[in-house]
Amino acid sequence: MRKIIQGLSLLLFSAFFVLATYKLPNWLPADIYLRLDPLLGLNAVFAAREIIGRALWALVTIGSTLVIGRFFCAYVCPMGVSIDFLDFLFFRKKKRLGLKTETGLRRMKYFLLVIFIVAALTGLSLAFLMDPMSLLTRFYTFFIFPLALTLINLLLDLLRPLFEALGWVVLSHQHYFQSVYYMTAITLLVFGGIIVLNRVVPRFWCRHLCPLGALLSLISPLGVFKRRVNEDCNECLKCQKTCPMGAILEDPRKTRLPECIQCRTCAKVCPQNAVTFPASLSLGGEYSKVDFSRRGFLYSLAGGLGVGFLALRTPFALKQSKHPLIRPPGAIPETEFLRTCIRCGECMKSCLTNTLQPCLWESGFSGLWTPKMDPRLAPCDQNCNVCGKVCPTQAIRSLSLEEKTHAKVGTAVLRKEMCLVWAQNKICLICDEICPYNAIVFRPVEGYRRPVVVASKCNGCGFCEQRCPVQGESAIVVVPNGEIRLKDGSYIKEAKKLELEFKPDPGDDKFILEESGFKVEERKKGEGSVTPKEKPQPKKPKGFL
């Protein structure tokens, strides 16, 4: 029964993950697992110092844990399912290394919880490092997702001759766009590490390290269902040995309530059927079993403050207003963004073009795994607004397409010394051709029509940077200059205020044509200025003789 629920939960988690694409309907909360996570919610609310609407979903988890106990870990948590499943796969028959002093390590998760909460209070979002939901979504995004695409495409390639023979036209031309990410290896190492720890004891992660488990365990003894052992118990200790959480004490009649995840494995294995989980309203004295020394608390308090200091008191923090990164459209102002983002990677997974990539050290420790645009790799598509839709803490605001178009992420800058037209007088108009907003126009300069960026029309989508045929770095790059980052309010209004116009202006090319060519050249002649040494000024648009 529990395995089925667990399996369904992982399936649901995966389904929501798969559904997080640009086609995601507005009503479907693809990020629901992340929203339900109270640790991520607390972390974002404390760090951002304000209530975040979507984080309120975590109250559902808190509420049900208060009622039922720490069932989340055993039935819902997709990380728990993954650990259980992979444990079954790899370590089922292995002899575990075991632990001698269990209780000491158990405290780790509380210390970590305190560190994360304190760090959040200092304004540093850190829980993402070890929060299971964030961790798993990240692992899915940076590893499972690209791997699945590779495998599917490989399979399609293998079966292609068959499809062709059968005349299955669509399948024989099917190929899925391969998303790729930086930091895939690091993400795999972290996840792999968590799984390998099972070699020591089952659910090592959940017992000793998981800060979300720690948070839930603090309130779980209030739950209604509690393990009870009746007098039939013959102290065979079978339950104690099989408990995946090590929640049963030397005396098998006693339970570490905060650790019990209600998986009921003990009830199943008991030869005497002596274990039941009746509903009882008694609070019980087990709260004292939360192993937490005062010294440990103070250390972790200091740890949280220390990490907060180390991560935030850096030149990166001072330069936040001048940060060099292109953030996704709708990202709230940089400081708030760093505080609110929980680094789940959902935006990067759902990104239509694959332009969203995780940061490593580009904006310091506090920017680890945050999303940035990589326009040389791919542009931001104007028909897509999914990154905001799936952001569980709204570090990227969910915007309508119209609003998103006005959420300017930066401005394209032409590097004339590299541009084929400016530096080599070659015919190249790719940036102009691809620009969806007519923000690149051609103006006659020194006898040639040369590309110029109209900053007030550029919203930084990056099509030009991606397509620029110059080898290596692009001759036209998007820089954050001019980005619009709003915590609330309308981007359209803001853009209007700034006199920006992202609506394409159809007459523009014509205007340039009429204004260019002849007139300028004739005026030059009239002034007796030097005529260009090379080709004469073309009198017609490109391609016409």
């Binding site: 031309h173 766009f177 598509d381 523009d508 014509k510």
Partner: protein
Amino acid sequence: MALGLVGRPSFSFAKEEYDLAVISGEPVAATKKALEAMGGISRFVKRGQRVVLKPNMSFARTPDFSATTHPLVVATVAQACVEAGSPQVLVIDHTLHRAELCLERTGIRDACKNISGVHVLALQEREFFREVKVPKGKVLESAEVVKEILDGHILINIPVAKSHSATGVSLGMKGLMGLVWDRESFHSRFNINQAIADLGTVIRPQLTILDATRALVSGGPGGPGEVKKPNLIIAGTDPVAVDSYGVSIVPWYGQNFKGRQVEHLLAAYQKGLGKIDIDQLKVFREKV
């Protein structure tokens, strides 16, 4: 290579030979009439022959931007091919924007979805292309093109009429670049206008149907730009003649041009790919 061998169908059975059919009217009716005027689709597509239709669906734009072929024009031609007994009609383009979006936004997949035997494919993987030598090429020595057109499929080109920032206009000849894998080199390595003419020596559509129901006369090829409504379908077997006529129907960037003034068309003409002077063409004109 195979394409070169296929050649063009003979005109022998047509009473009066027209170089071009220029039909004014709504997309569906005008397309049907144009096909009829060119001797019917059965002149080009025989029972059992597989067909590749090459519309322009390179941009994820809705039809009103006029950056892509009108979906109803494509669907009408596809339907005609199926009725002529083609078991398989592939609507193919190597899209510039993300494939899925192009299929969705251009409306072409939707328009064709209920016609059995018709498949709309946006190809963005190299494995669907194969190299072909360009023996008569001046700058282009070889190109990787969509496999199917080398495997004996009938090719019908269905471009949209639009301006182009590098080649002046993008009609049928330029549209054939959408069957090529490496387009970047056309822009960066070669003189694009000559390369298009070179490509025309190996990719020879049996029929070109220019969708000039709308024309993007500036801001091309991707738009947005000024959209005019000539309401014309121009069909012909001579790719240069169709394009040359297409150049004459509207002012581009506010100026009137002739086919000879379009560099890639002139180069194609000089390669002997077709006629460029439209006053020497026999044109069937009708309003439907």
